[in-house]
Assembly symmetry: C2
Homo-oligomer: 217 residues x 2
DNA sequence: ACCTGAACACCGTTCAAGT
DNA sequence: ACCTGAACACCGTTCAAGT
């Protein structure tokens, strides 16, 4: 729109570095590359080139490649949390909403397998972890804890430690997500659907108030 | 011992390439590096140097770096399968043996987190997968299917499709393993132990023959 | 402040050449 | 057959210099 945007697109004008938020643009470009080709194929030089920016411009906003990946992972947990909350609330904050959360979780992993992989499996040996990333992951996990607490209040789930219960549920869901995006279920669609159905049943049984005989409480 | 081993250790003797099985040595060296520093830190040049061999010698035995990693992953599934079978048989091929398998699985993941990570999470975008690796992974999974089949025969588990049931159990265990080695459980030891205990209980409940009323079968 | 361009120390992989 | 050494096309990262 503005006159300063005119001129040859390949040519850099003096004083015209980059439009508004380069940091944001870097994250989004990295995410595009990761979704399209996987995190292994991500190069800082490629990200810069795609944005028409020098390959060292990135270092003004990120300490190194790991920091960029941490930002991408953080963005993933933010999107995941939003998807979980949306599903939970849309389907009535009850048993149906809880199952919808599970579906939304798997959908996220299946739709963005490379992004999902960056969110986990990083920082094994790094020792130090990004505090913001940690907080965002905890926040997404919190959506699950809150849902289970609500279910317990309404007598729809065993009255166990919600944190422990949430970790168990997360383990199951994360495990399925990994098996699916690793392609370890052969007849992909059908097998995955069957596993989802079976798991939902088993989870219902595992979390229901114990009906077994002999328990005095 | 032999006279040919004498001489300067840094100096290469003419005609003395490498002792017996270089392929095996390459896998084991790669595994050492991965266990010590993580798969990200693995370089082919480093592996060659550690073995006193040129950095291109590797290409006589592996097509590329990915192929070496596939061999390392395959070795992992072999070791995992052995650990699972050993636990299952040692503890009596029953309910106790089944729980021992779970413990052995988590022990493997915790003792070799980087190796465990290489076994999963690879080959997202590669398309083609190593057939031998696939077979070894299937074989390890088979140990779980066999155990569940035996439990069902003895009336110790619901009579569901063993394959589906095994996938569910694997998902849970894999999910926990990932949470633990990602360091997502804060008070590492204590929290992990509590989660293991809780999960074992929930799994018992989820796999027990359904005691719910109203079922006519 | 933010960005650039050259430079450095690495990679994986290829290939003609040695034994 | 198996291994070597030089070479190629890449990386991430640093840094003095520009505006």
């Amino acid at each position: 729109m503005s006159a300063t945007k005119a001129g040859r697109p390949r040519r850099k004008r003096a004083g015209q570095y980059h439009h508004g938020d380069l940091r944001r643009a870097l994250i989004e470009q990295a995410l595009r590359t990761i979704d399209a080709a996987g995190a292994d194929r991500l190069t800082l030089r490629g990200v810069g080139a795609a944005l028409g920016v020098s390959r060292t411009a990135l270092y003004r906003h990120f300490a190194d490649k790991e920091a960029l990946l941490a930002a991408v992972a953080r963005e993933g947990f933010r999107l995941l949390r939003e998807a979980l909350l949306e599903a939970w609330e849309r389907d009535g904050r009850g048993a149906a909403g809880f199952e919808a959360m599970g579906v939304a979780y798997l959908r996220f992993a299946i739709d963005h397998p490379s992004h999902y992989r960056v969110m986990f499996g990083r920082f094994v040996e790094s020792g130090e972890r990004d505090a913001d990333l940690e907080a965002e992951a905890e926040s997404a996990f919190g959506a699950l804890v809150d849902a289970l607490t609500a279910l317990q209040r309404d007598g729809l789930a065993r009255a166990d430690d919600p944190l422990l219960q949430a970790r168990f549920v997360w383990s199951v869901t994360h495990g399925i997500a990994m098996l699916v995006i690793d392609g370890r279920l052969r007849g992909c669609d059908e097998d995955a659907a069957a596993l989802n159905r079976y798991t939902a049943e088993r989870l219902r049984q595992a979390l229901s108030a114990e009906p077994a005989p002999g328990a005095n409480r």
